[in-house]
Amino acid sequence: MKKNQLDEMQVQKRNSIGNQAFLLLMYLLMIDAGLYGFGFRWIEYPANIMIMVTVCAGIYLIRLINNHAYVGPSAENKRPVLRFILMVAIACSVAAGISMMLKNASFTNTAQINEMSAPIMFITAAIAIIIALATLLIKRSQ
C-alpha cells in the first residue's frame, strides 16, 4: 500500500466529512438566498459568500484533522520542524496583517465592507497560493 497517501479508512472519513461540508454550504447558501428573498440582507454580496465558504472550509479542515484524516500514514511519522516553524510564522503574519487592515479600514457602514470584500478575497486567495507554493518547495527540499 502506498504510504504517502491516505489509507482506506481515512479516505472514507474524508469523503464523509466532505459530503457533509458540501451539504452545509448548500444549506447556508439556500438560507442566504431565502433571507434575501424576504428582503433581509445581513452582509452585502461578495462578503456573505466569502464568509459562508470560509466557515464551511474551516469546519471541513478542523473535522479532517480531528478525525486523523488530513495526513497519510507516512506524514504522521515525519517531524517537519522547518515547515512547522514557517507555517506558524506565516499564520501569525497573516493574522496580524488582516487585523491591522481591518483596524485601519474602520468600517462604519455596509458600503465600506462591500468595497473591502473584493481586496480581502483577493488577498486571501493570494496568501493561500503562496502558502501552498512555500509548502511544496519546502517539501521538495526536505
Partner: protein, 74 residues
Amino acid sequence: MGKNLKLKSARAALDMSQKDIADAVGVTRQTINAIENGDYNPTIKLCTAICKVLGKTLNDIFWEDEDDEKKPVG
C-alpha cells in the same frame, strides 16, 4: 460489529504494537485500532495485508463463528 479479539491476540502473540502492524501494512495506527474495536470494516486487501504480517489466514483473524452470534434458546 463486535470487537476483533482474534486480531488483538494474534498481535499480542507476536509482541507487536498497533503501530508496528500499521507501519507494516501502510495504514495509520487509528485504522488498526478501529478494526480491533469493530468500528471499521476493512477491505479484503487490508485484511490480507494484516494476515500476511501476522502469519495467519483470513479465517484465523477475520472469520466470525456463528456460535458467537447465536443467542441461547429458551
